[in-house]
């Protein structure tokens, strides 16, 4: 009897531990998303809030549900939205590649240091978080601008004759995004590399594998979950990045964030803005679910 009630207690505890985060996700992620989805089926109005209600009473007392699917037609009929999606996805993908190229050696370096050095080195990776992201992006304006640190130094050294244009273009956006998202790549990579069984590398070397082959056949497969986790952690927020392109980007920097701003503020069309947001989620959730499905299937023997 006693054992059974212990079992029950444990089940209840497990249920509570799982239910709380699910409640949190439901109330703060799912519910707002459904509100956005609802607004996307409405039409704009000059009022507070600036859209028509979906459900209204007709003159004859009938309850009328009006759904404007035209918003979805609009965002697929005008190429601007697809171009904005594509350029946001491309920027995010490039950011993932560079954060991976920079982050992997860094994480590898930290993970192979002596135990007492790892914590201080990791702290250095996280230290920038103590300053506001906005301030750090502004700092890049000071570094990249025509009278800025880089151009000043190169002009002084005589390497260049007139300032390089390295601000307000896509180059600056990628620099800012790689800088901003690097810790999100380093931390999961480090977590996986740190718990890797290093004797496997020794075994591979002992069996005659050259260092590159060891890396490709042993280190990389073992670090793969970390690479996937880090890439997703960088990619997902990078797609919706607004601050970096707004501050460091040039006039031709077209992102989904800027498109949303236009719909909200210039057109005062919350329904179309919501449609753009919902379509972005649909565009990303599909491939991610497929990836997840593939991974869980692949994990089973």
């Amino acid at each position: 009897m006693r054992g059974l009630s212990e079992e029950r207690k444990r089940a209840l505890g497990r249920f509570l531990v799982i239910a709380i985060p699910f409640l949190w996700l439901g109330a703060l992620f799912l519910a707002p998303f459904l509100i956005v989805a609802k607004i996307s089926l409405s039409s704009a109005a000059v009022a507070i809030p600036p859209y028509e209600p979906l459900i209204s009473w007709a003159d004859d007392g009938a309850l009328v549900l009006t759904l404007h699917v035209g918003n979805y037609k609009l965002i697929f009929s005008d190429p601007i939205y697809l171009i904005a999606y594509a350029s946001s996805l491309r920027n995010a993908a490039v950011t993932v590649i560079f954060t991976l190229l920079l982050g992997f050696p860094l994480a590898y370096f930290i993970a192979t240091r002596d135990q007492k050095w790892r914590a201080p080195l990791l702290l250095l990776v996280m230290l920038p978080f103590w300053t506001s992201f906005l301030i750090r992006v502004y700092a890049w304006i000071g570094i990249l601008k025509p009278n800025g640190v880089i151009n000043g130094a190169l002009l002084w050294l005589g390497v260049i004759e007139k300032p390089l244009v390295i601000l307000n273009n896509n180059f600056a956006v990628i620099v800012g995004m790689v800088y901003g998202y690097l810790p999100f790549m380093v931390l999961p990579l480090y977590a996986h590399l740190e718990k890797m069984d290093w004797s496997l590398l020794e075994a591979a070397s002992d069996l005659g594998a050259k260092p590159f082959r060891v890396f490709r056949k042993v280190t990389l497969p073992l670090a793969a979950p970390g690479i996937v986790a880090g890439s997703l952690l960088v990619f997902i927020p990078a797609v919706g990045e607004y601050i970096v392109p707004a501050l460091l980007g040039g006039p031709d920097t077209l992102t989904i964030g800027a498109t949303l701003w236009n719909e909200f503020f210039s057109n005062r069309d919350w329904p179309v803005a919501s449609t753009v947001a919902v379509a972005l989620v649909a565009l990303l959730v599909g491939p991610l679910l497929a990836l997840q499905h593939h991974r869980t299937k692949g994990a089973r023997p």
Binding site: I48, P49, P50, P146, K162, F265, N267, R268, Q292
Partner: protein, 365 residues
Amino acid sequence: MKKSRTLLAGAVAVMISAAPAPAADAVLNIYNWNDYIAPDTVPAFEKATGIKVSYDLYDANETLEGKLSAGNSGYDIVVPTLVPFAARQIKAGFYQPLDKSKLSNYGHLDKGLLARMEAQDPGNDHLVPWLSAIVVMGYNVDKIKQIMPDAPLDSLRMVFDPKVVAKFKECGVSIMDSPTEVFPPALLWLGLNPDSKKPEDLKKAADLLKEIRSSVRRFDSSEYINALAAGDICLAWGYSSDLEVAKHRAMEAGKGVNISVVIPKEGAERYIDVLAVPKDAPHPEAALKFINFVMQPEEVAKTSSKVYAMSGNADAKPFVSPEAAADPVIFPSPEVEKTLYTITGADPAADRLRTRLWTEIKTGH
């Protein structure tokens, strides 16, 4: 699964705007433009009334309108531009009528201006004029003359003639990121009505803007103040008050950056920014006290001198600094004043077309 949830959160977070929490009485939440009040006005008001002011900034009418559209913004005083913003916001029920019996300084306001505002605000029920300025150009005189000794310094050609503006590409051209402030001068330069909303006219203006587009380094509505003052750009299309701030910052910095602010001879847009109290303002009494406080001619004159804009107060000019009073951009001569125009609101379809064309101009798509 969790990963896709985080993704939802990212998309949803865009929709949730943070509103200031309503506070106890004796507090006033002001939402104003950047660089748009004398630094000692708020402390003087706090000292005179004991009301604690929390002060917040924006750099575009669109931002203000977005916050007010959501409702419960928490702000007590906002400063929209009269047309088209405040005009349509009154129609949408954003603002509460002002109790003029509590505004003992109302008599100082410019009667001519109030009469003009009645077209948008019948009976002047909701709005009090704050400052009025012009959308103009500012440039780094030395750099411009060095590049183009015979530059048409007093003409829209500086910005809107593709051949002229192309010469300044290297030293940096900035144009306001606001179609409502850029389409009118483009239309005017083409010889069309600057207030036109006709699709064919807007498209012609867009074609012109696409031609000058490759010469423009940045479209932005507040960064250009510092960029021009620091010498990072040499030509800017912006608000006269902001450009004057840039000019004076450059003078104070003393690094030899010499800036001119010029009303194009072809004409320019005069705009009036007004004080208004949102319908759901948590502290309307404090808001009225503040409006009455800044309607004292001496008080608003300080702001007028500091931010280089004409005030809507008829009795303020004698108190304005001599330098500002003599500035022909702040107080244009009657002949120049005649060349200034105002624009009116557009219907949603024209707005959408203009925004779409603006994106096309900026991005090429």
